[in-house]
Amino acid sequence: MRLQLSPELEAFREEMRTFFTTQVPQEIRDKVAAHRHVSKEEYVEAQRVLNAAGLAVPHWPVEWGGKDWTPLQRHIWREEMQLAGVPEPLAFNTSMIGPVIAAFGNQEQKERFLAKTANLDIWWCQGFSEPDAGSDLASLRTTAVRDGDDWVVNGQKTWTTLGQHADWIFCLVRTDPTAEKKQRGISMLVFPMDTPGVTLRPIELIDGGFEVNEVFFEDVRVPAENLIGEENRGWDYAKFLLGNERVGIARVGATKKMLAQAKDHAREITVDGRPLLEDPFMARRIAEVENELVALELTALRVVANSADGKPHPASSVLKLKGSELQQAATELLVDIAGPLSLASFAEEGSDVPDWARVATPHYLNYRKVSIYGGSNEVQRTIIAGTILGL
């Protein structure tokens, strides 16, 4: 038992902090901190800055640009990135399809995709969920039928995040409708979004933004060489990928940043001439969330320290569950601190409402998603009850 980071890790943390706060453009980091829309070009620019320094895909195999860091180093890297407001390397590229291709793809696919994926030369999107396959992903119905050297894909995907920016999609498709277990008849295909037969329809969310899309496939012809790994093994790759998705999903650094903003704004708003932060109820509410966040960060550190063998710690479900709840609690705090100012969501010039208060409610509404994606919190409770408590 030892509280302090080793001097080496302290130095590592400092190195990360310095890099993120000096090398990634301030305008982009300010946008992230203000919860403002980050454009495709800005995402790409930020990721290329990271990639040029070897900081976009440290968790990949060294051969493909990884760093061979300890889990704790990765944790520090991610936390410092969030605290600095750096847009995180695109998860679809760096946490999902990249590691899958590195682990299960053939040599040709690795050479074709990995470097471009790390550098965001290819923007990937995820074709997993379908209208009737959400938490029950294995019920997916999009089909791929072999025809000569091609697969012919028909069906529909949904909740495809930032699909409007995507160059390529990695897609789970049913290749063996007769398989006894529905998980066994699924394969993973990758193809460009501009392939004939692919259409994309944006879905407007309750915050007025466009983040997710429906994607339709009508007789989309995909060359057989675009199958990742083995036919009918797609479910295994999906599980591997979703395991990666859960790593870092606690987003402690991002929530910390929101709490720091909440304190600042609660100082600016006054009630009967006194800062709102001095109101005992408000101060307690912030202190309560902050304390849970400390406990979550420490739990993440415990999980990180005990998952050195590469397998996710069973308690990682705790991180997703509580991490999403605290992200949501922080967004809710910001709305409540803004009070009536939070109504001015779409005010433009001529309004005196500060920017943070304008974005507070859209952000709060948008963040209802965090307890749904990456395995909903109900799925996490099922995992905890089943694999940890044996129920």
């Binding site: 038992m1 030892r2 509280l3 890790l9 304390n291 320290a305 308690a315 409770r381 009850a385």
Partner: protein
Amino acid sequence: MDFTFDSEQNDLREAVRGLLARAYSDSEQRRKVVANDPGFDEKTWARLAEMGLLGLPFAEEHGGMGAGPIEVAIVAEEIGRVIAPEPFIEAVVLAGGLIAAVGTDEQKSELLGAIAEGTSVPAFAHAETGTRWSASASAVTATQSGDGWTLSGAKEPVPTGARADVLVVSAVVDGGTGLFLVQGDAAGLARTGYRTHDGTRAAAVRFDATPATLLGTGGDQTAAIERALAEARIAYSHEAIGAMDTALRTTAEYLKTRKQFGVTLNRFQALTFRAADMYVSLELARSAALWASMVQDAGGDVVAAADRARLQTSRAGRHIGKEAIQLHGGIGVTAEYSVGHYTSRLTAIDHLLGDGDFAVARLARTVGEQATVDPLGAPYAV
């Protein structure tokens, strides 16, 4: 940063667990023990002494083991696992801790060795009926008379106050709160013991010009008391972790075996989801408690760390204690069954030295001082 126990610490845990498992192999044994005064088993106390646990945190030169906060945490958690009623935290961590912190060398040599041997059971007489969870005294006043002191006033509730052979008493002195030693057979000392809801004992202690000895060299000891209370709060957090762990395991086991509507209860998602939430509460609280002990070990701000651990374990203790009973159903509120006693003890722990609301109110006072909290940085790691 390292959250793992070393092999000696693991051995200590196994040894303590083994001893307490023999003493309290089922809840019936505990019920028998707490039915009679002093509310704990003197033989078990003697065995804890033989194992060196009653001198665990004291310096070797004073008859102790010279162990640190992590070892204390391990023992406290194992006590909580079977809710052993022996007053380890009350006598060793809190009363003994105060003697170790402020006593003169002579007092330490004389008193700490006796505690470690199990021959002396001290209690800290500090709580007063008109206030709560304060670090200072107001209802007992110390008066200097010749070479010595006398105390007048009342303390209540004093855990283990009737059984204790020596009391560490906080009292008003010029310029603050002083600490005094009062012998159990002192003139003008009246003690009325009673059972508490969790099966342990407390007492009303009245002083009427009772002769007392100054603990240490005098002056205001509020800061030392605050620190000792913080260290005891951390230890209680670990006792709570042990108790919550058992309450959750017992509940999960019950859900797997109890049948209603022709199926075992774990077939009902409404119940298993609630058990999953209990696990989340427990693991977050465990992290906070372990961290607080590491802060204490590292010499960081132990008072703030204790508040953080207390807040987290208090909320978790309420959650798990209440749900453990509800998921059991009627049997959970019976005295014959174990789980309700865990809830009772968790409730007592909450109110001995401060509950979650108390802790969060203190944390709230300084919430604006730092933009972010870094549990691995200042003021926790120094």
